[in-house]
Symmetry: C3
Subunit: 468 residues, 3 copies
Amino acid sequence: MPLLDEDRLFPPEPALRDLARALYEDVRDLPIVSPHGHTDPRWFAENQPFPDPAQLFVTPDHYVFRMLASQGVALTDLGVPRVDGGPTETDGRKIWRLFASNYHLFAGTPSRLWLDHSFQHVFGIDRRLSAQTADWYYDHISDCLTRPEFLPRALYERFGIEVLATTEAATDDLRWHRAIRESGWRGRVVTAYRPDGVIDPEMPGFADNVALLGQQTGFDTATWAGYLDAHRARRAYFREFGATSSDHGHPSARTEDLPQAEAAALFQKAQRGDCTPAEADAFRGHMLTEMARMSLEDGLVLQIHPGSRRNHSDAVMAMFGRDKGFDIPGRTDYVTALRPLLNAVGMRPDLTVILFTLDESSYARELAPLAGAYPCLRLGPPWWFHDSPEGMRRFREMTTETAGFSNTVGFNDDTRAFCSIPARHDVARRVDCAFLAALVATGRLDSEEAPLLAHELTYGLAKRAYRL
Amino acid sequence: MPLLDEDRLFPPEPALRDLARALYEDVRDLPIVSPHGHTDPRWFAENQPFPDPAQLFVTPDHYVFRMLASQGVALTDLGVPRVDGGPTETDGRKIWRLFASNYHLFAGTPSRLWLDHSFQHVFGIDRRLSAQTADWYYDHISDCLTRPEFLPRALYERFGIEVLATTEAATDDLRWHRAIRESGWRGRVVTAYRPDGVIDPEMPGFADNVALLGQQTGFDTATWAGYLDAHRARRAYFREFGATSSDHGHPSARTEDLPQAEAAALFQKAQRGDCTPAEADAFRGHMLTEMARMSLEDGLVLQIHPGSRRNHSDAVMAMFGRDKGFDIPGRTDYVTALRPLLNAVGMRPDLTVILFTLDESSYARELAPLAGAYPCLRLGPPWWFHDSPEGMRRFREMTTETAGFSNTVGFNDDTRAFCSIPARHDVARRVDCAFLAALVATGRLDSEEAPLLAHELTYGLAKRAYRL
Amino acid sequence: MPLLDEDRLFPPEPALRDLARALYEDVRDLPIVSPHGHTDPRWFAENQPFPDPAQLFVTPDHYVFRMLASQGVALTDLGVPRVDGGPTETDGRKIWRLFASNYHLFAGTPSRLWLDHSFQHVFGIDRRLSAQTADWYYDHISDCLTRPEFLPRALYERFGIEVLATTEAATDDLRWHRAIRESGWRGRVVTAYRPDGVIDPEMPGFADNVALLGQQTGFDTATWAGYLDAHRARRAYFREFGATSSDHGHPSARTEDLPQAEAAALFQKAQRGDCTPAEADAFRGHMLTEMARMSLEDGLVLQIHPGSRRNHSDAVMAMFGRDKGFDIPGRTDYVTALRPLLNAVGMRPDLTVILFTLDESSYARELAPLAGAYPCLRLGPPWWFHDSPEGMRRFREMTTETAGFSNTVGFNDDTRAFCSIPARHDVARRVDCAFLAALVATGRLDSEEAPLLAHELTYGLAKRAYRL
């Protein structure tokens, strides 16, 4: 019996379901455009087999291990590496069994949809994961991973990916992207410019990062002018490796447009490690506006991913480091926060700023009204905790009436989990088709408009918004 | 083929749809009670033809031109007048073609529902607006507008309007209302008292406005007592022209109940232009409580429309002025903000205060609990960005369980777009009937109660709440 | 004709409704586990008849009388007792008639569902309450109340209650719980430890309460160490009467983990009545962490019910006192507020902290991500204004995808209204089954998983989370 219902995520009412299914049939096999994510370019550069099922599905996936942790499973028992190099489980089969015996925890979650999709579509599995089937799964997946058709490039091709963006720090040397290019492989894997490490004075190693940026670009990053030039040069370097966007993960959506002398003074303080938290926040905010100005020069699309209160647990941060599932969203203001940037460059139609949120209460109240007015603004798809069927439905229901579809940018998978990419895009396609079907069935959309919009939401908007 | 689906906005499930349709059939032709809006009384006073299709549908409608602007259309290309009198498009046909070729942007928005309703029901059009049909539309509507049955009074009657409230500044001379009355025309067009210009120390021309109010009423508005008396007199003047309500559009819902000496001192500062922002806010807040006390004397219903961060774009404000689609909602607190007013007069059942919001997160958390307790409070209908099918559904789903239906006040169209009035009321009637049908189908309402409630939501509540 | 639709709250679509009904049939008759509420243990100790219909259904139920008050009914006309002992209506039949003639106000509210359920299932009534049927109802219910099968213990048994938790102040002598135990009756009525009166420096009588706690436990509560020991001793005393939980109703979710010397100093200030509001808030916050530490010693589950702005109307508070329907929710932050407690003890899987909210915007943004990561956290069911069909649906839709089902704790009725207990549990069972049915119908849950989850949501989770 297949793990997945062929009609999953379509509305139960029969006529509506038929409408949704027909829309979906038209877009299900469109190429995947993945304009923002966190896969590892090394996979495609080296094209080596993925190590084992636990390393593929459990240990690196914070969606998976945080849920297990929430029910009392120790992260060390899941093989999550320790900062101090101390003992952590290394037996993939033991990790897998622990995961399998807790698989019921994922009932009703998008992780379950993504995992089952991978199990069925990537590995051809037709039985539910559980304590009973754990070993069978482990053996089966392990066996597959040794075969050429499960190598990263083969999967990329099998998944129908047209373009895949990774995200690299500004100071990354992009060696894996270079290797991909030099390998002659035809897959299109591009980078994105993520300069948090050289923009956020509160990031560990900020001054060193800035100095490294100077070395990499040949500009004197000890000065404000040199620092800005170094960004320009580094953005150009990233553009050589296909980058069409920058990405910024700040604690808030705050922007500033400070006088240059004031920004330069903050930058000096930041290099000396002397910024107060308020000054660090102001500097980050100002740099978003500088980045937007550079986007007007070089065409990079600017993405803002604000509002995560990262590393909420001191104990988890101390033992396991960043990105371990203890990043919790908080309320995020956009209306006041974005005003300096928008007053500086917001009316420029040749600029594209894509806004994301972890605070759904801002969809109808702030984000849709902003994107429904300013020419530069677009709304990113539901992000992180909201990259889910209910989250996607709420996004459409709360943004479409004010911002329409054209101020949105299609789907982002935003994932580190390679096998989940087709699963995530499939969920988005299904939910969007269900939404469009409901509009048709309630007389809010013509039946001939819906397929065109389904195509846009799946493919056209992402290509154009990200200039891919 | 008609532009509109006869069953639009009803639930797709057949039995539920039948229930909703039956409820709707009973209320679809009830008279329109429009207790709050922004149409121009001059239309009804002069009864002249509307100028051209662009002037009717595009140039004055901030819902329409902000969406076009968000996709890069210049406001000057849409004929929006400039503050400096500089060049702006004046060729109605060019504006209309630009609008028509971008009409697809409105897919899924309430503007599309309102526009199509006007096209079909007011102008008898049966083809979709597009670049291809732009000229046909323009010619057809232009032709209609020259005919007597498309004059403002004829449309008022055709729309089945029983009463229509406009909104005038406290210092408006109400000349057009006087002209309507003197014309002998039987339409009931009433005014509403909007004193923001003489209450908000931060409004341009505040002191001059207050002085004018003194001249108009014969009271010495240089003094606090005279200022309050002038309000009383001006409210009485507005009541002569049918006003049953006042309306207040403050940045927040803040109220205060200051000692009179303190309020008087703030008022002196305000007249001198010396208020700090905090003092201006306190003065506005105090005046809401004074207005509520006057309402207890003269019976005017008090409406509070808070929470818009107006004129968000400095560039748009500088070039085009206020009300140009760049007013963005923000988070709004009601629980703390309203307490002073409610402690002063909130338990008086002979007072009616109608609360609106642009922050839907306050519906279930703050507004329904407040209105479900204080005798003076009623909840206004979904406002502005939320005056839409999804917005109306969320309003009912998030307020009914705590506040019931009786603490709501029916629908407001709140519009400047005359032709959209029947369209907007029709949307509200359909969505409310769909909501009631769902309550019946899920055993939360008796089938004999639903038609009575449909009538109340359409007609009864608005008449009684607004004392019309 | 029955008052209640047998299929109420199930989805209207026929196939989905069948799925929901089948799930519900399996759980409808499961025993009621009521792990948190506010019924009066005296009822079960004395087992005397309830006085009259008005005293049973109207006068003590703040859901009911606040709605009547919101439409202008005076609380004195409903018999609500006055703080000053002044006149209030005492004629039950007059109160009942007033209630009955306003029963239409409850259309669409959960109160209506609960009341009709009680009328039909407890009192066998088959006609709608109205002015016309008021006297018939009054006579019928009055007559029933004199009969042995309507005594509190008989109803407890008829309702199928397996365990019922009440809530008592830390300084309560638990005399009624003792009397229940000594009576030999087999009903399981347990207490819960609610120490707000000895933890919140802003509660009237705080110092006296602390002194009384000292007398009751034999510890010197004038000292910080003695105060903590007194808590330990009193928790042990409560555990003798079945308590498995403590409960904390603070204005916010703020927690602190202060140095002991600092906490001790605040405690001294609090006893002298010298705390500033900020210090009182810090002390309350610190005590939550102390309570959590004690929970690690004695196993009590810690419940946090934050965010009510209590006694919003000064006039109602002055005339009628606390808990009179004028407690209004406000925005509540959890992410920052809970961090000190979570950093202190949050990774301990042997601790259970159950979080409630009156701010639904925190469900998907804060609460589900927190409970989906920290081992100690669980999400309490929809509370107070959100204990309703739409509220329950939103809770599941906004928490399940991130926190799953296992981080929730089943249903709480949380009520003072004894007859509403089976009604409230029935609503929860129906809404949860409808939610599960929708997951099955949309391919997000296997059909064999759904009945197991329905059982868990109805029974298993509450038993285990509350250690009952």
